[in-house]
Amino acid sequence: MKGSERHAALSAGIFLAPALLLIAVFFFLPVLAALLLSFSDFDIYALGDLNRLRFVGFNNYLQLLQSPLFWTALGNTFYFVLVGGPLSVGVSLGAALLVNARLTRFPGFFRAAFFLPVVTTLVAVAVVWRYLYHPRYGLLNYGLSLLGIEPIDWLGDPNWAMPAIILMAVWKSFGFNMIIFIAGLQNIPTTLYEAARIDGASAWRQFRYITLPLLGPTFLFVALMTMIGYFQVFAEPYVMTQGGPANRTLSVVLLMYEEGFRWWNMGYASAAAFVLFVLILAGTVLQLKLQKSR
C-alpha cells in the first residue's frame, strides 16, 4: 500500500511539476522581486548602474501614504468600485433575468448581443465612446438636448468624468457577469418555482425566496470578481482621460503605471502595487466573512 501511495504521489508530482514550475517562475518569482523592489529606490540611475541602488526600508510606503496624489487616486478608485461595482452586478443580474425569462423570444440573440461588448477591444470601444461623450457633437448630449437638458462636458468636467467612465465600464463588462448569472439561474430546479406558484407566491416573492438564495454562491463569485477587477481599473481612464481632468479619474493602477513606466520609479510603483494588493485582499476577506455570517 505504502509503496503504491508513494508511487501515486510521485506521478502526481511529475504531472504537476510543469504547471507549478511555470507558476513559480512566471508568477511567484516576479511577485517576490516586486516586493523586494518596493523596499528599494530602483530608478533610472539604478537601471544604469546597480551601485546606485539603495534599500530604503518602508520609505516608499511612508512617502506613498503622505502623498496627496495617492489619496486622490485611492478615493477615485473607491468611487469607481463602490458605485461601478454594485451597478455592474445589478445590471448583469437584471439582464440575466430578462434573457432567461420564459417570455423572452430569441434569448440566444440577446445573450450574444449583451456579451458582444465584453469581447470587443477596449481601445476601439473607448474611441467610439469618446465620440458619444463629445460635448458638442456627441450623441449623448444630443439626446439630452431633446429632453431640454444643457450639454454636459462628460470627459472634461471634473464632476462628470468619473460617472462617464463608470457608465462605459459597466456597459463594457456586464455581459460577462450576465452569462454567469444565467448559468446560475438555469441551475435552479424549475420544480421549486412550480411549487411556489401552486402556493400562490408572487413573482417578487419567488425572486426573493427562491432565486436570490439559490444564486448565493454565484452572487458571491460575481461580486468578488467584479470587485477585484474594478479595483484594478486602468485601461478606461488611461485611454479616455489620462487621469484628468484635474486628476479626478486617476486610479491607483494608473498612478502606479505613471510612476513606474513614465518616471521609472520602480520602487515607489511597486509599493503602490502592494498597497493595492492588501486592499483587495481585505475587501475579499470582508466579503467572504459577510457571506458566512448570513
Partner: protein
C-alpha cells in the same frame, strides 16, 4: 566585415551541423536573429538599425536610397516608433539590451540617457570635423546636446515655441504687429479681450503645459534650481514674479483656464476667433496652413516672444525695438549612437550623412521640421516660407531647461501646482512652497549621488569597444 560578438560562435556552428535536419533551419534562423548585432547579411552589407519617431521615422526613408548608393557596404533598417511610446520603448530597449545602433531622441532626454550610460560620447569623432561645421548649428540647440564639456548627440531638427496670432484681430486692437515687451504685450491682449467680449479670449495657454511659465521665468532670470541642481529654487523672487505674472493672465481673463484636452478643435477655434494668440511650435506652420479655412489664411502670422524689459532700463537695451526678442526654449530632436552598438562606425557614417546641410534641407521639405544647421536655411523652400522667419529670429534667443534626468518630472509637478494656483485652490506662495517641497524630494537621489562623489551624469567614459 562579419563581427564576432563572442568566441563561442564557432562552437555553436559546430553543434548546428550535428543537429537533425528538421530542426536545423529553424535553429539557424533563431541563431541568425540573435547574432544580428551589426552583422552582414548574405550580400555582405552591414545593417544599421535606426529608430526614429512618428512622421520623422516615416519620411527619413526617402533620404536613405542616396545614403545606400554612396555607401554600398551599408544598409539601413528604419524602425518607426510612435512619439507617445518612444521614451518608454527606448528605456525598455536599454533595460533589455536591445538598443538600436542609431536613434532619435528628444533633446531634453539626453541627460537621462547619459546618466544611463546608453549613449556614446561623440567628442573623438567630432575632432575630425571642420570647426565651421559645428559653428553652423544654432548654438542654443547644440548646447543641449553637451553635458559637462562632452557632446553626446547632434541636433537633427530644432523646435522652439513662439506666437501664432491672428493679424486681423491684433490690428483691430490697434497694433500693426505683436509687441516686443511684456508690458505692451499685456496692453495689446487687454485691448483684444475688450473687443472680443466675455466668450472669447486674447490668448490660449493650455494649463496642462509647463512651457510658458518656464519661458517667462527663464526670461526673468530665474534659475529654477539651485546649488548645482540639488534643490528647487521656485520661491526665489524672480521666479515668483514671473509665476505671478503668468497667473495674472488668467485672473484678468486674458486666457481661459482650460487644458488642451478640453479644446475640441484647436484650428476651428482659432479660425472662429475664440483666441487671437497661441503659443506653439514649428509643426503648426504646416497644420495651420492645411487646416485653417481659406478665409482665415491671409490673417495669421508668427512672431517671436516678447522680451522682459525692466520699466526704466539703465542702460537701455542695445539695438532698436526690432532686436528685442524674448528667449524661448531650446527644443528639438537629436541623433545619438548607442554605446553598446557593435557597429558604431557605420551608425556614425549615417549620422554624418543626416547632418549634412543638403540632407537637412531635404528633410525640411519632407517633414516641415526646421533644420538645426543654419546653412540649410538658405534653401529656397525654407527662405521663402514667411512663417519660418520668426522662428529663425527666435532660434538665436534660446534658453535650456536644467540638464538633469529629473527635469520632466519637475516640469510635471510645476504644471500640477500651477493648475491649482490658476483654479485658486492655493495661493501663489503656497503653490511655490509645495512645488519646492516636491522638487526637493524628486532631487533627493541626485543629492545623495553627488554627496558620495558619484557623477549623476558620468562624463567621458571610454567607449565599450
Amino acid at each position: 566585415m562579419i563581427s564576432r560578438p563572442f568566441p563561442g560562435a564557432a562552437a555553436i556552428a559546430v553543434t548546428l551541423t550535428r543537429m537533425s535536419p528538421p530542426i536545423r533551419p529553424w535553429f539557424a534562423v533563431l541563431l541568425a536573429l540573435w547574432l544580428s548585432g551589426c552583422d552582414s547579411t548574405a550580400d555582405r552589407a552591414v545593417v544599421v538599425e535606426f529608430w526614429a519617431m512618428g512622421q520623422e521615422g516615416e519620411q527619413v526613408k526617402a533620404l536613405l536610397p542616396e545614403f545606400e548608393r554612396r555607401h554600398p557596404g551599408l544598409k539601413v533598417r528604419v524602425q518607426q516608433i510612435p512619439w507617445s511610446a518612444a521614451h518608454e520603448k527606448l528605456l525598455t530597449a536599454y533595460a533589455g539590451d536591445a538598443m538600436p545602433d542609431l536613434f532619435q531622441l528628444g533633446n531634453t532626454w539626453i541627460p537621462e540617457f547619459v546618466a544611463l550610460r546608453a549613449v556614446e560620447p561623440l567628442d573623438q569623432r567630432l575632432q575630425a570635423w571642420p570647426q565651421a561645421a559645428l559653428k553652423d548649428y544654432f548654438p542654443g540647440i547644440l548646447a543641449t546636446n553637451r553635458l559637462e564639456g562632452h557632446t553626446y548627440a547632434l541636433p537633427w531638427y530644432v523646435d522652439t515655441r513662439l506666437f501664432f496670432y491672428r493679424t486681423d484681430l491684433v490690428a483691430a486692437a490697434g497694433w500693426t504687429e505683436l509687441p516686443a515687451t511684456w508690458e505692451e504685450w499685456v496692453q495689446a491682449m487687454t485691448r483684444i479681450k475688450a473687443l472680443a467680449g466675455p466668450e472669447r479670449h486674447a490668448i490660449l495657454l493650455p494649463i496642462n503645459e509647463w512651457q510658458l511659465p518656464v519661458i517667462l521665468a527663464l526670461q526673468r532670470g530665474a534659475t529654477l534650481l539651485r546649488d548645482r541642481d540639488r534643490y528647487g529654487n521656485f520661491r526665489e523672487p524672480r521666479f515668483r514674479e514671473a509665476f505671478a505674472f503668468y497667473l495674472s493672465l488668467f485672473e484678468r481673463g486674458l486666457a481661459p483656464p482650460v487644458g488642451n484636452t478640453q479644446i475640441a478643435n484647436l484650428y476651428q477655434e482659432f479660425a472662429n476667433g475664440a483666441f487671437a494668440v497661441y503659443v506653439s511650435g514649428p509643426w503648426n506652420i504646416g497644420e495651420f496652413g492645411r487646416r485653417l479655412p481659406a478665409a482665415v489664411q491671409p490673417h495669421w502670422d508668427t512672431a517671436p516672444l516678447p522680451a522682459w524689459i525692466p520699466p526704466h532700463p539703465n542702460p537701455p537695451p542695445p539695438g532698436g525695438r526690432e532686436s528685442w526678442v524674448g528667449a524661448s526654449l531650446a527644443g528639438g530632436a537629436s541623433l545619438a549612437l548607442s554605446r553598446t552598438s557593435l557597429c558604431r562606425e557605420a551608425a556614425w557614417t549615417l549620422l554624418e550623412f543626416l547632418a549634412e546641410p543638403e540632407q537637412q534641407a531635404r528633410f525640411y521639405q519632407l517633414t516641415g521640421d526646421l533644420p538645426a544647421r543654419q546653412s540649410a536655411w538658405a534653401d529656397p523652400a525654407l527662405a521663402g516660407n514667411r512663417y519660418a522667419q520668426a522662428f529663425r529670429r527666435q532660434l538665436q534667443h534660446l534658453r535650456a531647461t536644467p540638464a538633469i534626468p529629473e527635469w520632466e518630472r519637475i516640469a510635471n509637478k510645476l504644471t500640477y501646482h500651477a493648475e491649482r494656483a490658476i483654479r485658486r485652490q492655493v495661493s501663489v506662495d503656497e503653490a511655490l512652497a509645495a512645488l519646492d517641497r516636491d522638487v526637493d524630494r524628486i532631487l533627493e537621489k541626485r543629492r545623495w549621488l553627488l554627496s558620495r562623489g558619484v557623477q549623476p551624469s558620468p562624463a567621458g567614459q571610454g567607449s565599450a569597444r
